[in-house]
């Protein structure tokens, strides 16, 4: 029997960026807040110390900071006609575990998503007509605007120490920045990172081709910095061990060294680690949630934590899983297209070329997490005419390095044998003399890409695993062919000694190898309870004291990394919850 604990004002489920931001903001506002986190607490000094943290095998290959698939994973399939099987080992995406979550092992790329995403259906219909959007493409407007979110983007950029160059301040285009970004109120808090050689080579070629390259904004402090909360950042050392690793220099904006320790200094806040939440509880009225059930995984003891407000802030996939396990909201059905929980799962796509330059030295082991130069001519550039190409969305074109460590990164020209003397010679010759040009592309929502509960496989708590049904559709394939052409034309203009050309993806999505931890959707925000799970304040339409925060609220996936809007929406939601506590009712009438 679960031990029933004393009720608190708010319980937070999962303590990464979103849980950490809400923990800090709501405890400062006077709420009694308890956070429940599956994993342990992390500290830079103990957990990310040199030399132990410089271990590619441990952190990259063996997934040290990641969710343990032996306890909980998903089943996966490409379409509803297949039998889903468990992802037995993490591969294509890597959710983090522990206080700090994926915000410790991310690279720091922090973008502002704009109305091109938030008003996706209305803008495409307005410009290209209703029939331009395929019947199965279930894209819809998000119910929020860029203008509403701008101050919250700004806040997150300052807290996380984002280095970058503004491209548009109050409508004035800024030299050196991204001319296709939406207007921002002011500059980034830190100047851009020092460009590496690959950035310069790419940028010169991109300019020649008529594109608009700019330094990628990233939460890697380009110099020592103190954020608005008084948290001190060291300068990034371009160590080359960023993605998959914690930062030993406190130079990468991460929840475990910013919002979480600040919340922990507040007596209104309590963190319980090793606390595995298995269910969100609801009352008989079916209009309110009442708290959560969790297990202390250090000893198996079970608890019920009652709360006036439940904030679901785990990794995007786990948020959706908990909604399904708890029977909250109507599960999505792809046949009738009724129901909303599990709807519009999206991922990302990509393509890339490797360029080999005899005699050059790219020093791939020297980089920050955000050592990339990017161009958005085929992404946030709304003037780029999608009409004649027949696809919706966009891709960010870029070049640079991030964690080019030798188990995973050993470029050789196509046709090189996989072992033997010839392989060794090519590996030695090209490791430092290659660079790449690639894209990260959007994935539009589709009727048949969704989540539900698996009928067969169970997690360590005997609960059904979540089932992911996903594949790329014709829209993504068309965009991939366009991107491969753009990459290859640009790569050839750079006259490399050898070139591994980019190829458009044709195969189904696979669970190996690693691709991207940018899983979105499942409990999407929107304008109506018939088509979305949450209102624009990330408040459940069905249970007004339940808020769900993370990339699971995105109604589709863009080319950009998701953490910028995830962080901004967490601050946006914190303000909404503060208003809600004064008048506990739906913040938007259904």
């Amino acid at each position: 029997m679960a031990t029933r604990l004393k009720e608190v004002d708010a319980v937070i489920v999962g303590l990464g960026w979103t849980g950490g931001i809400l923990a800090k903001e709501l405890s400062a506002a006077g709420l009694k807040v308890v956070a429940l986190e599956r994993g342990k607490m992390f500290s830079t000094a103990e957990d990310f110390q040199v030399p132990q943290v410089r271990d590619e095998l441990r952190y990259v290959q063996r997934h040290e900071l990641m969710q343990n698939a032996a306890r909980d994973t998903l089943t996966i399939r490409n379409n509803p006609n297949q039998e889903a099987l468990p992802m037995r080992r993490l591969g294509s995406f890597l959710p983090g575990e522990g206080a700090g979550g994926s915000g410790m092992h991310w690279s720091g790329h922090t973008w502002r998503w704009t109305d091109m995403e938030f008003k996706v259906r209305s803008r495409y219909e307005e410009r290209y007509g209703k029939s331009f959007i395929p019947a199965d493409m279930t894209i819809q407007d998000w119910g929020i605007t860029y203008a509403e979110l701008e101050p919250y983007y700004d806040k997150f950029e300052r807290v996380a120490a984002v280095s970058g160059k503004a491209g548009n301040i109050d409508g004035q285009i800024q030299p050196g920045g991204n001319p296709f970004e939406a207007p921002r109120a002011r500059e980034y808090p830190l100047p851009p990172l020092t460009p590496i050689l690959a950035n310069e080579v790419f940028s010169a070629a991109a300019k020649n081709a008529g594109y608009h390259p700019f330094p990628r904004p990233s939460a890697n402090a380009s110099r020592a910095y103190t954020n608005p909360d008084g948290v001190r950042f060291g300068a990034c050392q371009y160590c080359g061990f960023c993605q998959r690793f914690g930062c030993e220099a406190n130079a990468k904006g991460s929840p475990h060294m910013t919002v979480i320790p600040i919340a922990m200094r507040n007596p209104n806040f309590e963190l319980r680690t090793h606390a595995w939440v298995s269910k969100i509880l609801k009352d008989a009225s079916g209009k309110r949630v009442t708290g959560v059930t969790y297990t202390n995984v250090l000893n198996g003891e079970e608890f019920e934590q009652p709360a006036s407000i439940v904030l679901l802030t785990a990794y995007a996939l786990n948020n959706v899983h908990l909604m399904l396990l708890s029977g909250l909201g109507q599960p999505y059905d792809p046949v009738s297209q009724k129901g909303v929980i599990g709807k519009n799962y999206c991922y990302q796509t990509g393509a890339g070329a490797t360029l080999f330059f005899e005699g050059r030295n790219f020093n791939p082991f020297m980089s920050a997490g955000g050592s990339s130069a990017s161009a958005d001519d085929f992404n946030t550039n709304w003037d780029f005419d999608r009409g004649k190409h027949g696809w919706i969305g966009g891709y960010n074109l870029s070049s640079g390095f991030n964690t080019a460590l030798p188990i995973g990164y050993r470029p050789v020209p196509r046709g090189t044998p996989a072992w033997g003397k010839e392989w060794k010679a090519a590996t030695a010759k090209w490791y430092q003399t290659a660079m790449n040009v690639g894209v990260s592309g959007s994935v539009m929502a589709n009727r048949y890409n969704y989540f539900d509960l698996d009928p067969t496989y169970r997690n360590a708590f005997g609960q059904p695993l979540m089932r992911m049904t996903f594949d790329y559709k014709e829209n993504e394939h068309k965009m991939g062919r366009h991107a491969a052409q753009v990459i290859n034309d640009l790569a050839k203009s750079m006259n490399p000694t050898r070139l591994n050309e980019a190829t458009a993806r044709t195969e189904p999505w696979t669970v190996v190898p690693y691709q991207s931890t940018h899983n979105t959707g499942g409990t999407i925000m929107g304008t109506s309870p018939r088509s979305s799970a949450l209102n624009k304040y990330l408040q459940s339409w069905d249970y007004h004291n339940l808020f769900v925060v993370g990339a699971n609220v995105f109604a589709h996936n863009a080319s950009y990394n998701p953490t910028g809007p995830v962080g901004a929406l967490a601050y946006w939601t914190a303000d909404a919850v503060k208003r809600y506590t004064k008048n506990p009712a739906p913040l938007v009438s259904a």
């Binding site: 030399p51 095998l57 032996a70 037995r88 590496i196 050392q237 371009y238 020297m366």
Partner: protein, 235 residues
């Protein structure tokens, strides 16, 4: 679940015993050494998981894939065999972070690893199957085959042209083995491979010290003078 359907090694030995051409699959290593010329024995770090037949197979694979030349010593002199042995003896080999609940189905390639075997179990069954295939095809276990036959077999194996009868999927085992060879060549020497940082020296990877804030400018398009250090060098 923990047992391979039948004892492959015993099967292999009986198959070999009935084959006139193959003589030494189960021979102690010392006896094998006596048959060779006076090459000085390489000091071994010892094995925690691999049996003698398995060790001979792995040593032969890593020495074939990573031959000695001016760029590096051969695979076993870099400790790649030791790396694989330690990986299989440790948590990863025993299925750490691997979802091991049934039911078990073959699935489609996009669903990834679906075997009811831990990595250590896959190696045990897979090496026996690979040697059985080699004995059937070349009349010798892999480590007794000449270079040209080793190459022919590895190419066929890596390109999906080899099937293990009643054994684990050949290609799944090859993929894991190849990945482990790469890991043993380029991971920190702490794990038994990449001895003397030979893999890192081969490509100029500088290892654990990486304070490059000024090096970005200083070594822009210049060769970085890497004198690699590993975790143990800083401990």
């Amino acid at each position: 679940m923990k047992n391979v359907p039948f004892n492959r090694r015993a099967f292999l030995k009986s198959a070999v015993a009935s084959s006139a051409a193959a003589v030494s699959v189960g021979l102690p290593q010392s006896a094998q050494a006596q048959q060779k010329a006076a090459a000085p024995p390489t000091p071994s770090a010892g094995y925690a998981f691999l049996n003698p037949d398995e060790a001979a197979f792995i040593e032969a694979v890593v020495d074939h894939m990573v031959p000695a030349d001016e760029l590096s010593p051969k695979g076993s002199d870099m400790g790649i065999n030791t790396f694989i042995d330690r990986a299989l003896a440790g948590g990863w080999g025993k299925g750490d972070r691997l979802y091991m609940q049934g039911p078990w189905k073959q699935g489609v390639p996009s669903q990834g690893y679906q075997l009811p075997l831990t990595p250590a179990e896959l190696y045990r069954a897979g090496i026996a199957s690979a040697n059985a295939y080699c004995v059937k095809t070349y009349s010798k276990p892999f480590d007794k085959m000449p270079e040209t036959q080793r190459q022919e077999f590895l190419v066929a194996w890596s390109t999906g042209k080899v099937n293990f009868e009643n054994g684990p999927p050949a290609r799944v085992f090859f993929t894991m083995l190849y990945q482990n060879v790469i890991e043993g060549m380029f991971s920190d020497p702490l794990y038994g491979g990449n001895q003397n940082k030979a893999g890192w020296k081969m490509i100029g990877f500088p290892g654990v010290i990486a304070v490059n804030q000024q090096n970005i400018e200083k070594y822009r398009d210049k060769k970085f003078p890497a004198n690699p250090l590993g975790i143990a060098d800083m401990s």
